[in-house]
Symmetry: C2
Subunit: 356 residues, 2 copies
């Protein structure tokens, strides 16, 4: 927060805080940003890439333009379908997405693929960040593949991915696929920004190996057993039965949708059409019962509150007086010299006393 | 926060913020508080009750005394064993705790039973708050039974329960049992304040009925199948095998402890001695490998950070300017008129600009 404020002083192209007045904002935009917006709206993928780079920028001089860009694009988005896809490494996420994406672009649909991978800052993108993995799709003129921003916390990646969805929608993409690796917290972030959540599995690898957390299973609107080809077909059918039984144990979903289990082969294309149909059915069901719009509204509110909570914490823990005091206080609390509640009170008093 | 500060002005018996200097604090205490402390330390249950009432008080005039009381008691606590017990309504938590508690007091151990039940504010304590449920134990001179503070959020109940543990330990209790109903978030709060976490089940009720969330299973150090008497014995043995198999699928625990599954009957007392032995084994294992102390230190730190996060949010969302603006902003965000991130930024700027 404080960083933002001090930047403001030096930043003459700033906007009034009334984010709702988009017209005003648009008028104040730099000519280059205005140009960028009209290029995005015309579906120019190069402009889209530049815009994403702008919102990914950590340079505070770019923040105001990025914010305005997003708010203008928000009013121009066509309603896309947002699909989250997760699964542990080895289930064939990228080959699946390539096969599924090509299937959609062949019908003239525009498909964007984004990835959320906070681990890429450590692994340097080796798991998901590698754009060349989906070569066919990346070359497709109806597709756009963009890896995760790297060097970021999950919160940072999530914010940027959500804003990238808005830009892609403004650029006219019909289907936005968000890919994440099914470990850690990233699938929760993805779940909170998509309409449909697909869990990719393979047969016979065992629950443990696939790192299935019950939480992920519960989030899934569809479980797809990939690599159901050749010798694997029989195993895939057994796994399908088992997973159907397991899913049956969960309480009914608020969406009134019963999660499906199906098999597919990204290699032979078998089952890909059926998955498209499942998603079409889901969208129809949830649009009819009002869940689709309700969920989107809830997701927006979730991100509003999530952003506030994260920023409050960030401001607190980066406060110089707190930084100095925190380590000492933690030690006292760990050693039972002070109650955690009294210690928290002391830190909070220090913080609020020293706010500018 | 602000409330606290303004109270301070009117409160002449205030303490220096240096919570670590307990001796100074003790000197400044009101005679009545000093008396209270020495009565607690001598094991006076009446004084203990009055002290708990003081820390449960929502009257800001009591805050400073309550804080000092806790910090003095912290330095006088003998190390007790803290046991969390959870299970859905109907598994027989109170009869189990009564049987188990009596088994311990018979050996001369002092047992305190506290409950965490944020729902009691709605149900008026019908689930857990009913002290008369453990009549035998409540009459026992070696036992102390105290229901949850009512009319509170989970955060409030959790803080008060944690401080009540400190008071009970200062009063010389050897075993502190914290009971909670296994629904919602309260079992997470309990898990973060106990050494040993016990999940109570009954045979044949089905996973769904018992509301077993994988998360609770993962937290358990022991699963006990209660009501294993009469016709239920066979079913309980089957359930034991199934649960052992299910627990086997979880990754090993940081404590290096393998969770046990056992059967018991609160009615016939069968299995109660074995459960005591399991807990003794657990404490021995985790004290030897250092986990016991490490976990307590981590729990203290957890509550420090948790308290800070909650108070930051509370201060933000109770800020008059934010309260006015929030509903309007939420609506704009839900209707896609503003990006959640831009809206959060606006609220945060308003908040920080208006801090006193």
């Amino acid at each position: 927060m404080k960083k933002d404020k001090s930047e403001k002083v030096n930043n003459t192209e700033n906007f009034s805080p009334e984010v709702f007045k988009k017209i005003q904002q648009a008028r104040k935009l730099q000519p280059r940003t205005e140009e960028l917006i009209s290029s995005i709206l015309s579906g120019d993928v190069g402009a889209l890439s530049r815009a994403i780079t702008l919102i990914e920028s950590n340079n505070p001089n770019h923040f105001a333009n990025a914010k305005a860009l997003i708010n203008v694009c928000l009013s121009h988005t066509k309603q896309s379908i947002r699909i989250g896809i997760t699964g542990v490494p080895g289930v064939g996420k990228s080959t699946f997405i390539e096969a599924f994406g090509k299937h959609l672009t062949r019908q003239g649909k525009k498909v964007a693929v984004l990835t959320i991978d906070p681990s890429s800052s450590i692994s340097h993108g080796s798991i998901l960040g590698d754009k060349t993995r989906m070569e066919e799709l990346a070359k497709d003129s109806n597709a756009y593949v963009r890896p995760s921003a790297s060097g970021e916390t999950l919160g940072g990646v999530a914010r940027k991915t959500r804003e990238t969805i808005t830009l892609c929608e403004a650029a006219g993409f019909d289907i936005i696929i968000i890919e994440t690796v099914g470990v850690g917290q990233s699938e929760i972030a993805v779940h909170s920004m998509v309409d449909f959540f697909l869990l990719l599995q393979i047969a016979g690898a065992g629950d443990e190996l696939q790192g299935i957390k019950r939480g992920i299973m519960e989030m899934a609107d569809a479980v797809v057993i990939n690599k159901a080809d050749g010798d694997n077909v029989a195993k895939a059918i057994v796994a399908k039965t088992e997973l159907s039984r397991a899913l049956h144990l969960f309480p009914p979903k608020k969406s009134e949708w019963t999660p499906t289990v199906s098999t597919c082969s990204a290699k032979t294309q078998e089952g890909i059409t059926e998955i498209e149909q499942i998603i079409v059915n889901y969208i129809e069901t949830t649009k009819n019962n009002g869940y689709f719009d309700r969920k989107r509204a809830e997701q927006n509110e979730y991100w509003l509150l999530e952003t506030i909570n994260n920023q409050l914490k960030e401001d607190f823990f980066n406060h110089p007086e707190i930084r100095d005091l925190l380590e000492k206080t933690k030690k006292a609390v760990q050693n039972n010299e002070s109650s955690p509640f009294a210690a928290a009170q002391l830190l909070l008093e220090t913080y609020f006393k020293n706010k500018p």
